[in-house]
């Protein structure tokens, strides 16, 4: 169940990277296989190649960022939501 508690993602990733990765893995395992490689989000930027991400691309990027202990500011809300839902049991 989702917690209302505010999560400091930067600090959490720095101090407990494996715990964060575990929650992200749990989230990824819940995604239906047929959805993994289809775009899930996109942005309407002016770049020649518009920005899109599949769930697998999001997961792979996030895994890399957690490994380097540095999640970009704009992605903290995403990690925070994953932690509220999938990080509870290991707190």
């Amino acid at each position: 169940m989702r917690s209302k508690e505010k999560i400091e993602v930067g600090k959490l990733v720095l101090e407990r990277g494996e715990y964060v990765k575990g929650a992200v893995d749990k989230w990824f395992k819940e995604i239906p296989k047929e959805e993994l490689d289809k775009p899930v989000i996109a942005a309407f930027g002016q770049e020649l190649k518009p920005i899109t991400y599949t769930p697998r691309e999001l997961y792979e990027e996030l895994k890399g960022e957690i490994k380097e202990r540095k999640v970009p500011k704009e992605r903290e809300a995403f990690v925070s939501e994953i932690m509220k839902r999938y990080g509870e049991a290991e707190k």
């Binding site: 775009p39 942005a43 930027g45 002016q46 518009p50 992605r75 995403f78 839902r85």
Partner: protein
Amino acid sequence: MTRLDVGVFARPDWPDVPVYGRFEYLMDYLFWTGNEVVSYARSMNLNVHDLKRDDATREKVEDELRGADPVFFFHASHGGDNILTGQGMSNLICCPGLHPCPEPNHEVLSDRVIYTLSCSSAKELGPAVIEANGISYIGYLPLLWIVVLEGDDVDAVFKDIWAGGAIALIDGKTTGEAYNWLRRRYEYWISYWEMNPGWEAPIMIWVLQADLQNLKLLGKRDARIRSTQTRVESKIEEEVMS
């Protein structure tokens, strides 16, 4: 003085990037949203000048803005810091800035209320339009995101919010009221997804929060695009009279 109750709608639609969702291409989601806005505008007797697909070009939009002289300009396409794009990612409206703009034409938006569904243009173009005596500019900075999974509470949420903001203006609300309506609608859907256990929930909340944070209103907050009262004001008056 531009004409109230008149709107130019610039609505490109081309195969930009495949997304394999409800629609084949990303641009189709903005076209879908625009269809709802245009249809509502017509039903509310707004004088609609709808420039779709191949008509959504710099030349035709400039001609229509100068000819019809509308108070309202609706745009739904890709965008950059200093640019709104037209059909095929062409240069529709731009001011000097980050991306090449050999012939700035942002002053064509002077004395108008602009509602754009696009990325980034609230950074340079929006302020330049306001500086050139634009009335109000509702746009996004830096990015406008969408979740393209099909569902009444997934991709349709974005249509609901984005069309709703323009519909608020068509209903006679001020730009400030429309902006506040948009904020409340984002917050409503964030709350909805906070209670939803699906794997999509972290993505939906993240994207909705980002769009809410990126939503900008520049210029006047008390501007309207209608000459008549809002429907609520009319109803109150009718009740008082009876």
